[in-house]
Symmetry: C2
Subunit: 398 residues, 2 copies
Amino acid sequence: MLAGPEAAMSALATAEARIAEARIIEGGKAVRLTWGDGGAARFHAIWLRDNALDPETRASGNGQRLIAIADVPDDITIAAARLTEAGGLALRLMPEGKEIVFAADWLGARVYDRPARNRAGWTDNSLIRWDRRLGAELPGGGYEEIRSSRQALGRWLASVRRYGFATMSGLPRRSGALLEVAELFGYVRETNYGRWFEVRAEVNPSNLAFTNLGLQAHTDNPYRDPVPTLQILACLENDVEGGESIVVDGFKAAERLQEEMPEGFELLSRHAARFEYAGAEGVRLKAKRPMIELGPDGELIAIRLNSRSAAPFTDIPYDRMQAYYRAYRRFSALIADSTLEVRFRLQPGELFIVDNTRVLHARTPYSGAGRRWLQGCYPDKDGLLSTLAAIEAEGGAG
Amino acid sequence: MLAGPEAAMSALATAEARIAEARIIEGGKAVRLTWGDGGAARFHAIWLRDNALDPETRASGNGQRLIAIADVPDDITIAAARLTEAGGLALRLMPEGKEIVFAADWLGARVYDRPARNRAGWTDNSLIRWDRRLGAELPGGGYEEIRSSRQALGRWLASVRRYGFATMSGLPRRSGALLEVAELFGYVRETNYGRWFEVRAEVNPSNLAFTNLGLQAHTDNPYRDPVPTLQILACLENDVEGGESIVVDGFKAAERLQEEMPEGFELLSRHAARFEYAGAEGVRLKAKRPMIELGPDGELIAIRLNSRSAAPFTDIPYDRMQAYYRAYRRFSALIADSTLEVRFRLQPGELFIVDNTRVLHARTPYSGAGRRWLQGCYPDKDGLLSTLAAIEAEGGAG
């Protein structure tokens, strides 16, 4: 049985994590390793050479690779393989005659000799899909603690990675405070809406978000490519009737669609929708992307849904359009299903963050009496995940 | 014969652009239109209703849709279809009893009843793939003209859309001038490298870009998701030996790969590579994306290639890894092929811009004598294409 990376990783804590046997196979084109716990995996000579960790292959300071694939001989083979005293792997590669060494745990964490994932719509184990029961205890934290403790920051960021959603309380009640939150982990992406934008009822609004109408659950700016990957919405005032916030896990809704209408899931992922926005002078944003985006290996990587900015779909063949609309209708209904909705009321000094590639947000309509004033901005997810990975590497977060 | 959108569009200039006949088909689920030039296309009732242009369906100011798909009856049919005096289409839809009207050219530009594109790796007609012959006359313009003429700006932006590359001369020779160029069309994305960054030889560099080593043709930051979509590199000083700039059309290289090694094109597009960068404290960027990224309909949408930041590939099945490496080696060789390289020397006061999802850039090594000082930044492509579309809608650009 070939071990998956998790199996190999979990074995690291034990003494069985050492490599017990290394056998050259395929005439030197690969090596088969057996770990002390019985797990096994094959690695190719070319993969091992390309990923060698010696200072001539990798810059010691920044870890960048110093060789290109053209520098690796095409006819590379493993001439000798032996185990190191620490239970790692030492190899001699021909024709270079180069000796390279790997630790057992480094290889165990990078096993690629394992069954392929076949089911479209899979996601990494670190993501937890959720429904309205998440509302019983919203993932979140307090600004002061998160700002002053790297561990608390790590926990909060890990919630965003896991759920695509988190709240924060105890913010300074001043305009622009949301930017200080974004600066804790990354960078805000400026757009035609500015570095941040006001969300309150406007006269002659350029966007329906700037009215007191209810907004159906949606992802922001699907007409933008790249789409905003995160959104923060922070509350400065909210004493209107209504104006509640709703979040929905689009990955959970996609899972339900796949269960009850597999051909609908396929239609929304195999064909691109179109989105556009031309609501302000000099702005004509357009994008062509699927509502359910999969990576080449079927990994679910993004959801886009926004009836306000959906443009005429012109990339679905005629004989599938009717079925495409059925799938779109069902997916929209699942997203509006109350069993998936987490509903809460933002108070002044509170914010929420969503992964805009996964979690949809909505608001209920509100009355003109009283005031509702939110501010929003779009930080990017690369910075958030990078900061979280750095904190985890320091041994922080959970 | 069903008319493609281009055929319908080009017919618009003539009197034959009027709709000549509208026939209800499929029991009212669709209508078949014949234009005066003989082109024909079918449209579904649900598609027509969803895309109605009346002020109850679309906000008159910003054009956003005011209805959701749930508001459209599931059993919608076309009860009556007639031609308007202007040669457009008027429909009565049941059970709503709603009357909607479309202009002939609006429908002609949105035909979806056409043969599907089957070949993986296609791109829009507005893109032109190029090789080293583009070097005979680099697409570009002068800063003063582009800044002062909206038409000149439109022409320059259209070059970037078409070739994924353009140059600009006559820039003010002051630090940060590149941001003024970005502001002409969009917004710069701030990253861990700042809003812009210095590219010159550093002591203890955090990135090999900041040395005097040659850099193989690469796309920037493939370890970032979303990846930077544009890069500007502006020159402030360059009196070293060497230090020439090279650009390569990654879409052209992908086309060559597909021609000579179709299975290699498939491997690089069907499996995700991994990239990472952890060269500075607190930064651990990682991404999992294919080297050749296709949309769900096979459209070529992005190239990622960077040997320095390629991480161990762990998402290619064991039995395809050897072939994957062969494809990667060949793709890298094609990108380094001199028949694809456009080579030039940036002078102080000049810059170039690349579409970082398409065009790779490189530099030749340079000697320590003299100085080479460039500044770089990452604007986003959504803003560029939006500004270009707005200029085109005003009747500018070419």
